[in-house]
Symmetry: D2
Subunit: 188 residues, 4 copies
């Protein structure tokens, strides 16, 4: 990683210093290496942290990073028995939980990894997804302002790209005094 990228990192992504590992170094070693895409590195770090979560974030512990750009992240997940309702299809509450978790990681990865809180979340449900089906989940940051971020997310069936659900999520950045900003730990 060159000097140019590092300095852009410290501007855009000030709370994720390169030399401060986000999680257990053993897990780090399992990560695919991708020195050319800083967004993808952050995505991998942030998503892998979910694997060891013991709070509600474990609702996303089975998502895997696919790709990241300057405005969006892509993850995938196979629908498992923990994710479904009594009909054996992806639970609307699981989908909504992923809307929250994945879109906020998209903001952290592509814009700012500072404390934020949800203001509004919504989901529309189009098709059921059965146990065993692979979902491709794309979260896009539509706008990041001074105090808020606006995101959206699509859940598609991998086999045929059919739209399963679509959601949006607005987040407010929590006010942080400028002098605290320097020493802020990584948020997610």
């Amino acid at each position: 990683m060159g000097t140019g990228i590092e300095s852009s990192t410290s501007n855009i992504f000030q709370t994720l210093p390169a030399n401060k590992p986000l999680f257990d170094p053993l897990l780090m070693d399992l990560l695919p290496k991708n020195d050319n895409n800083i967004y993808q590195q952050r995505l991998e770090q942030i998503i892998y942290r979910l694997k060891t979560s013991n709070n509600f974030n474990k609702a996303a512990k089975e998502i895997y990073p696919v790709a990241a750009t300057s405005s969006s992240i892509v993850v995938e997940m196979v629908v498992g028995k923990d994710h479904v309702n009594n009909k054996g299809t992806l639970h609307g509450g699981q989908t909504a939980a992923l809307v929250d978790i994945v879109t906020s990681r998209a903001v952290a990865v592509t814009h700012k990894n500072i404390p934020m809180s949800s203001t509004d979340l919504s989901v529309s449900y189009f098709l059921p997804a059965k146990i065993g089906e692979n979902l491709i989940i794309t979260a896009t940051v539509l706008k990041v302002g001074r105090t808020m971020a606006f995101t959206e997310i699509e859940f598609r069936r991998q086999v045929d790209d059919a739209l399963i659900a679509k959601g949006k999520h607005n987040l407010a950045f929590l006010p942080i005094p400028q002098d605290k900003m320097e020493n802020l730990g990584p948020y997610y």
Copy 2:
């Protein structure tokens, strides 16, 4: 339970026959007895089923029934470590999961316990709720039509009635052939 109530039950709540227990009879014995309020009985049955769930419905396994009327149900929950985000406050995804699960139980309890699927869900978040705080959650059925049900839900802090979050959830009833309707098992 008298004949009058039974016949009203078979009209309004056709898929929840009195003689077909919803769950483990041992759990049944733990339920408070309330012979006068059919809605409250159904609420207790439906909510207690969540306790033994091993699919995503376990996201609501710690809610407890409080009250039920012909149009709404009230449940409560103490915010625990499984429900929170990295800041130690109620996770937006947990809230959204409860919007889905509790409002659909409100439709099942007060109107029709037949298969339904979510079409739209949304939540606005107003205040954080910390671990140990008791939440009073009220789900109201705003309209039940031929093919859809419209609901809303409020999460309030028990200690001072402060509004934590508010959501809505639209559900579509799945089409069931009339001859199948007679033998339909309870849905939730």
Copy 3:
């Protein structure tokens, strides 16, 4: 109006000075007098301004003030030919326009009359309302924070209180330098 009320007014409602009429004084004379309820006075002033609007606010020019408290306002409207769709019932777009206009007036009347902009708006539609029907519209401010206000609104048929539509509207206060705040004109 006593000194106490005036000083509380200048705190809560700083941009609506009592001695600066909001609109044509002739219209003022038509207003019902209510010296005891500062919120109702503001409601009447703010709503009557809409009558002479020549921008999109004229979509609300036929609403009339009913009541106001410290957290909500109530207005009424008879469904007219300008408000309907090709079926002759209240147009969903008209309803949505009123969600925007009436809830933002509720914030101005009950909390702060400073520049704000919408971040999110939504409506659910329950029942049609025909030409000639009288609607009672209640907008409630759920939360006002440092940078945002959260509101909701109900449209009910006056004759039987049936719920026609329900919406919500989040608004962001525009940042105003403190020294400009003193001389800010009334916003709506």
Copy 4:
């Protein structure tokens, strides 16, 4: 227009018979001719009808057809003095009204032109649009089921493609007896 296209038309778009003009034939003559794209022809017919509306549809009387495919329509509009708020920028209520009107035309043009009613509508607002700015508005039909249609819409500034607002709109098809379906007039 060949036989193949006509028969596909009568299946997909049964209520818009080719030989029954939707509006004043004089206006028809002003339409650009495009014999190869049935969707674009329908878009032009449906949008031009709005020009002479004297109900709330006149909120969309200044939109112009741009393009149509089998799943989406594109229209444009210059922000005028009738469309703005007191700050002189596109009124949130005008945007919401267009969400309703344009997305329902997208369903009529690309799928079914039969009576429908809104169930849910929402909008997120990202940037102000000033008087004189040209907006490109794209409405996409995400799913059409037996009883419902799900749509979304984007408002972009023409000059730089910046996202001004994004909305969604769910509609329910009104139940029509099969024998009435044959003689149904065009809906919009």
